[in-house]
Symmetry: C2
Subunit: 431 residues, 2 copies
């Protein structure tokens, strides 16, 4: 609780992801005092998180300290603390180190891995939403190969050399492709007793095709490209249970030391503390202007918001959606604070502009849909590379990521395959 | 236990540090089968470890996967496993996943942080010997500043903003200088409620001057350079006790959330399983040829060995010493295996060649002694930079480290200040 020494309104932004960061970037510093709060001290470039999990990039290549993003911007305060609950009536945010009163609230706390009610699967099949997740997955898989190298029991060795990715959306496809590349091409000469080319990478998809949000021909192409890399793609297979090192799907039981869950996300539990209506995914059902019903001073943005936009488009949980929402709300609030419009009457509804979708599968392998254009293989990969490098703008790491990629491309070696953290399955991160 | 399909002798190398790595590099692949075993999967460039702890470099910038170092070298096997004990009589190495019989043993397992019998200090004052140590220190300090930012109790805030480095050797000097730079220049605009320039960095040295192994004039210069960076140097102050967030030295009690121990190392506990004579630092007292008394087939190299060389020089525990020992033993064994000499008669004694010592203090601040030449300030720093970049040869990261430094130099921002791992004091690593 602190007094701000001016009559400026106080905006609290919960979450330093794409939505929250864009809002702050687009909002003029002189119009309000902003407090940005996040449990992490960094903004994460989520689209490349799978590269950290598969030893392609270092953690810091895709993370940027929140305090560093805005430099000496006036009227901005950054708090690293976990928000525990929000009291919409009292206009107060409670966090683990205190509380914050707000005039406006930007709720952009994102999503977390969702297990459809099977929360006990989490321990055996980690998801990929944070840097710690990525580092844990990387450590687990590298350690499993080390175990395989000295294991004399063939069944145990086979299990250590099996990677199962559950979920055929973009994250699952990207992970499976990158694991296949890592084991089959990067590490293939590194071991003596095992042949990493024999590592089995399985991609399990409940639906009838991978990348269901893409056109059918791109799904088919993605599957072919995955198979060319050595991934075994199993569609129409629903997971029934996951135990430690064991997965049952379609009545069949698979032994695998490495099971990764990429089959779903759900809004962060914080949404449930609001006392407003949520959708099945735990997301806040917002009004067309992205405000929370009954609370014109509260906006939900990004993955925590459920919205069908003014044109009837269900806004997907991707970086573009979050960025556009951040921009939209910044614009709305600026107008209101300048007295141009009165909330909530006549607020402009949010309209999502689909800039296309892409998924990368491996070196020179990807699919992309940009407007009416459908790309596969090398051209799709080049498009993906260009877009992601452009988006990394502002990161110290743009240059480094580019160099790292160019280096990897020509040498097929990966520098990030360092195991840190106690070599077991502890829950903390690594490098 | 495995049969090797040839009459070649089997050499087991314990430890992938400078000594072990140099031995393997210098040893011709056709003369013996080598098994290299290490609990970590990476070789660590220890001289730059303090840069990871102070958010200057990423963990992977200074680590290299052991399996990647030698590529497809024949007759080499790498095992990632912790060695638990060595049976010199049976010529057998026991590790957590099995055992290895050897014809020759190269014991290069290094050193660990030593607390002079006060092992309970370890929890409150971590040392700096591994990547996990460095990442833990980095996380602790960054988290302490985040706590300070929201802390209203002045005493608690002051404690969160105090960093005490115990030990005025090169590691302590480098850490203290880098912490001062990080807080006083890099982070100084990042916070709203606290001023990182107010962070108190204390360097405590039991002896009468810092860098006691250097000439007196360089010690004096180092202290001046540290003080210019804002480090408070306290010499002649012996630590009496360390509790959580509290340190007593010279009868005075200091409150500090961040206490780093850089006051001593001791050989790894493995040395004690040998049943041979050790020195006060737990190191193996080797013969002039670096072999273990009574066991001409066993050599101790690097920080695990205690030796006064043939010229009466006590070999210091630095990378150069380890590298020269690795080279010496490789040369000895090659001759013996080729039948040129018979062990242990007439083996050439080890002679250490001092190539100079350096310690860096900060940006453009260092001291160096090379032969009769004594450098301080900018020239010393340039020399330090050149030597360290040369030594990084073979690392993927040479180029990246260089770019990172150039970037930091011109921008004074650091990309590595990312907090990963559960934000508390857990014992596992981060990024």
């Amino acid at each position: 609780m602190e007094a701000h020494s001016q009559a400026l309104p106080h905006i609290v932004v919960v979450g330093a992801g794409f939505a929250g960061l864009t809002f702050v970037r687009e909002f003029p510093p002189e119009l309000a005092v902003i407090t940005m709060i996040d449990a992490q001290n960094h903004h994460l470039f989520q689209p490349l998180l799978y590269q950290v999990a598969t030893a392609g990039l270092a953690a810091i290549d895709i993370a940027q300290p929140v305090r560093g993003v805005f430099g000496a911007r006036p009227n901005l305060r950054v708090v690293m603390s976990r928000v525990s609950r929000i009291d919409l009536g009292a206009r107060r945010v409670h966090h683990e180190r205190g509380e914050l009163d707000y005039d406006y609230l930007i709720l952009a706390a994102g999503a977390t891995t969702g297990y459809f009610g099977n929360s006990d699967w989490e321990k055996c099949a980690p998801g990929l939403k944070s840097l710690d997740d990525a580092l844990r997955i990387r450590r687990r898989i590298l350690c499993a190969l080390e175990r395989a190298e000295t294991e004399s029991d063939p069944a145990k060795r086979a299990s250590a050399m099996t990677i199962v990715v559950v979920g055929g959306g973009p994250t699952g496809v990207e992970l499976a492709g990158a694991f296949a590349e890592l084991t089959h091409t990067v590490l293939h000469r590194d071991f003596d007793h095992i042949d990493p080319k024999q590592v089995k990478v399985l991609l399990i998809q409940g639906g009838s095709r991978v990348l269901p949000a893409f056109p059918e021909e791109l799904s088919a192409s993605a599957q072919r490209q995955l198979e060319r890399l050595g991934v075994e793609v199993r569609t129409g297979l629903r997971v029934e249970s996951i135990r430690d090192g064991e997965l049952t799907a379609g009545g069949e039981t698979l032994r695998a030391d490495n099971i990764i869950w990429a089959a779903g996300v759900t809004a962060v539990p914080l949404a449930r503390t609001l006392g407003v209506e949520l959708d099945r995914g735990g997301r806040v059902k917002v009004l067309p202007d992205l405000s929370v019903p009954g609370h014109p001073e509260v906006f939900a943005l990004g993955d925590i918001a459920a919205i069908t936009d003014v044109n009837g488009v269900v806004v997907p949980g991707v970086a573009q959606g979050a960025i556009q929402m951040g921009r939209h709300v910044a614009r709305l609030l600026v107008r209101e604070l300048r007295g141009e419009k009165l909330a909530p009457v006549g607020r402009e509804p949010f309209a999502y502009k689909d800039k296309g979708s892409m998924a990368t599968i491996g070196r020179s392998a990807a699919v992309a849909e940009i407007g009416r254009m459908k790309l596969t293989g090398y051209p799709a990969w080049l498009a993906w590379l260009a877009v992601h490098l452009l988006f990394l703008a502002g990161f110290r790491s743009k240059l480094f990521v580019l160099l790292q990629w160019v280096y990897s491309y020509f040498t097929y070696r990966r520098g990030a395959r360092i195991i840190t953290g106690t070599s077991g399955e502890s829950s903390a991160g690594s490098a």
